[in-house]
């Protein structure tokens, strides 16, 4: 549905997009995930047509909407945007906002009420934007974008201004609304949890390029680089030496996913692969930090050779305290990257 290839865009000497590529399939929700300043908002504004691209192409539904020489104006692209702050028209009612992109006939067809119900605000049509809470304003902004059934909906960090409790519900509801309407959507976010939990496809962006794109589980389990590994979750990166199918690490001999050439590498483990016990098998370690999160805890451990690793533990009985001596073993295989 959306196809972006080799997109370049610079503001003066600042390069915002440096050959970005992205493919999004019809009916799916893709998340563009990256730290602030990586170019993700510029990518979105280029797709929407608010910015001109320097080179590369953007195609929506097989139609080229932008390349080096052409720039289709935003209103012809049929790409609807949900801005960060909602940007509801303050002078129009909720129904007026939602019906803004519809023609007269469609406005009378009940589509407005339909999308309002879809986002969980049935019967709110007569209200004015200033009478709504922040979360409700975002819901209306999503309904407004969905109403004309655009082939593509772009969401620019739409949940970042909301509190955590509200965000969870709203994410689920928005994803359901997008699914129910069969919309193709691109969500721009810097929140890993949001990207991994909402999207069918996660595209990780770094310095103006998409460095990895794939299903959330693949991006988490098989990151393309140590940088991606660290950005999409907690990562334990250890120096290691490859020896046949295994790697020799400070945590002992660990099996590797796939094969890697002999020699020095960096291996990736996730904290949930660590099995910590009071006196079981494995490498001896000392607890140096304990961060309790309720549903789990992250424990920082120092091995006898001074290497520090992070372990995620679900049930700490007996409770661990800083200074305790434990043993740590590894579940599953490690992933090797060329030495950093």
């Amino acid at each position: 549905m959306l196809s972006v290839a080799g997109l370049r865009k610079a503001y003066g000497s600042v390069v915002a997009l440096d050959g970005a590529d992205l493919e999004v399939a019809t009916g799916t929700l893709a998340a563009v995930l990256g730290p602030s300043g990586c170019g993700k908002t510029t990518l979105l504004r280029c797709v929407a047509g608010f910015e001109r691209v320097h080179s590369g192409t953007i195609a929506v539904g097989g139609r080229t909407v932008a390349n080096t020489g052409t720039h289709m104006p935003p209103h012809r692209r049929r790409v609807a945007v949900v801005p960060q702050e909602g940007a509801l028209f303050p002078h129009l009612s909720v129904a007026g906002n939602v019906g803004y992109g519809l023609d007269r006939a469609a406005r009378r067809s009940g589509r407005v009420e339909e999308v309002l119900a879809l986002v969980g605000l049935p019967g709110y049509g007569e209200r004015m934007p200033h009478q709504l809470s922040g979360g409700q304003q975002q819901r209306v902004a999503v309904a407004r974008a969905l109403a004309p059934r655009p082939p593509l909906v772009l969401l620019d960090e739409p949940f970042s201004a909301l509190d955590a409790g509200l965000r969870g519900d709203l994410r689920r509801d928005v994803r359901e609304a997008l699914r129910a309407d069969g919309a193709t959507a691109v969500l721009v976010t810097h929140d890993q949890g949001e990207a991994l939990s909402m999207a069918d496809q996660v595209a990780v962006m770094h310095d103006g390029q998409i460095v990895q794109s794939g299903p959330p589980s693949t991006v988490y389990r098989e990151p393309a680089s140590p940088w991606v590994a660290r950005f999409v979750g907690e990562a334990v990166l250890l120096p290691a030496t490859v020896d046949g199918p295994d790697a020799v690490t400070p945590l002992g001999r660990l099996p590797l996913h796939g094969t890697a050439g002999d020699g020095a590498v960096t291996v990736l483990l996730r904290p949930e692969q660590m099995r910590v016990s009071a006196n079981g098998g494995g490498t001896a370690a000392t607890v140096v930090r304990h961060d309790f999160h309720g549903h789990d805890a992250l424990v920082q451990l120092r091995l006898t050779d001074g290497t520090e690793v992070t372990a995620r533990i679900l049930d700490s009985t007996p409770p661990l305290a800083v200074g305790d001596t434990v043993t740590v073993a590894v579940r599953g295989a490690a992933r090797a990257f060329p030495m950093l």
């Binding site: 929407a48 047509g49 608010f50 909602g86 940007a87 803004y100 922040g134 902004a141 407004r144 109403a147």
Partner: protein, 487 residues
């Protein structure tokens, strides 16, 4: 933009024609130094007083539990409807030997404080209360919060208002000539009209332009960056009001005293002379004709000004940059030129370039546009800020073309502000005196020129009906402005 430039170009050409030695001879005289010192002192005193009065009044009306604050809000804006020469006439015909520097300063302060009051009151009413709450939570008291946070929030409005007052005083002609304060404008008018000394007048005008440029430059340096767009989203809360407790009645008494000076004295004086004035035979017909003329020229002037202000205002708000700032500032320079200079430059322009327009209402409309473009540009730029770009982008992304987005989003959001600007321009056109005197088609009298003619011959009773009607007509847009400001 050529409109704003015509008088400047004329000024440059005519001054240049005079020759360098003659310019130097006219410029470096004791008289010019005295005039400059007196004009600048008047600007300083009036601007300081207006800023103090306007900010204090705006704070009391919008941020405290002052009794009758809506009423005081309207009262504080109403002096806009009193032209300075009407106020000057009212004072001098009531208080004997009321003339000179301090008399002029008092009248000008009373007449122009709304230029600070209105924008500051609007800014205070719309400022984000969260910033003040944060300041209080960080241990700053009410007064420190006011000076460190609230005043910073509204500083752009204060600066804009103070600049308008300063320019207004620098170019005021009516009050200073009636109250016999020798400033640049009075000296220029005397040189033109009495001495037929065009070169002397032009050199004095040039000094006035230089002073204006310095004023504008100074304001530009202090202008705070950012805060260009209104907040969208989030729950806007009204600001919390300060409880005045025992200070309520003294505060109300102070505002009442200001209102009595600014409105009561002119009203009493006009009422007194009006009783004698309307008993004159045949006066009603003349007044009606003059009123019709005033309405017609002011309406065409306001329409023409808004037409020119729309592109400049939108450019200033949307594409801030060197060009937009330059255009914006150029209109201020034209605004500060005395009406006499604008008027005579357009007489020259009419005779030499567009003869068919000479002696027509359109040349007068052009003069009004030159004079009052800054008011209109400010209003349009402020209105454009009510429609942030993200709203227009949202509209575009929903399949609406640029024109349609302009019609359905930008226009409805900016129209109230543009309407307010048009009302302000209309009101100011109505009050304009010197350019109207010079450019009106022969035989056409407006309320302002009739008033001027009768005041000149000291026939206060004959002048009073025009003055009263002028004040009433001009009060309508003022009322509209105040009500729209939600005070």
């Amino acid at each position: 933009m050529a409109v704003a430039l015509i008088p400047l170009i004329y000024l440059g050409v005519r001054t240049g024609e005079a020759g360098w030695s003659r310019i130097v001879g006219e410029l470096f005289t004791e008289r010019v130094a005295v005039l400059a010192a007196r004009s600048l002192a008047l600007v300083g005193v009036v601007t300081t007083a207006c800023t103090a009065l306007g900010v204090a009044g705006a704070f009391l009306v919008t941020r405290t539990d002052l009794p009758g604050r809506r009423f005081f809000g309207v009262l504080a804006a109403l002096p806009l409807a009193v032209p300075t020469y009407v106020a000057g006439f009212a004072w001098i015909s009531t208080v004997d030997s009321f003339a000179g520097f301090w008399a002029g300063a008092l009248v000008l302060t009373l007449c122009s404080s709304p230029y600070v009051f209105l924008p500051v009151a609007a800014a205070l009413a719309g400022a984000d209360p969260a910033q003040e709450e944060v300041s209080r939570s960080l241990g700053r008291g009410a007064w420190r919060t006011f000076t460190d946070v609230t005043l910073r929030q509204v500083r752009p409005s204060i600066a804009a208002g103070a600049l308008l007052v300063a320019l207004y005083v620098l170019s005021d002609f009516g009050a200073v000539s009636i109250l016999r304060v020798d400033t640049f404008t009075r000296a220029i008018f005397t040189a033109f009209n009495v001495g037929f000394d065009r070169t002397g007048a032009l050199v004095l005008s040039t000094v006035l332009v230089v002073l204006t440029v310095l004023l504008i430059g100074g304001e530009l340096l202090t202008r705070a960056r950012g805060a260009r767009y209104a907040r969208v989203g989030g729950a806007g809360r009204p600001p919390t009001r300060l409880h005045l407790r025992a200070a309520r009645w003294p505060a109300a008494a102070a505002l009442t005293a200001v209102a009595v000076l600014a409105l009561g004295v002119p009203a009493a004086s006009l009422a007194r002379w009006l009783v004698e004035g309307v008993s004159r035979p045949g006066s009603l017909g003349e007044v009606a004709t003059a009123a019709g003329n005033s309405l017609a020229v002011s309406l065409s002037g306001a329409a023409f000004t808004m037409l020119l202000a729309l592109p400049v205002g939108l450019l200033t708000a949307r594409a801030p940059g060197a060009l937009a700032t330059l255009l914006d500032r150029l209109t201020y320079v034209a605004h500060a030129l005395p009406g006499v200079v604008i008027g005579l430059s357009l007489v020259f322009f009419g005779i030499n370039v567009v003869y068919p327009l000479y002696q027509s209402v359109w040349l007068l409309a052009l003069a009004y546009a030159t004079l009052f473009l800054p008011l209109a540009v400010g209003a349009v730029a402020g209105a454009a800020a009510q429609s942030p770009p993200s709203l227009e982008e949202a509209g575009r992304s929903l399949g609406r073309g640029p024109f349609q987005v302009f019609r359905t989003v930008t226009l409805p959001l900016t129209l109230p502000g543009i309407g307010a600007g048009a009302a302000l321009v209309f009101l100011t056109c109505m009050k304009e005196l010197p350019a109207t005197l010079l450019l009106r088609p022969t035989g056409m009298d407006t309320l302002a020129t009739e008033l001027w003619t009768h005041t000149n011959t000291a026939s206060y009773a004959a002048a009073a009906p025009y003055a009263a009607l002028l004040v009433v007509l001009a009060a309508v847009p003022t009322w509209f402005l105040t009500v729209r400001g939600g005070l």
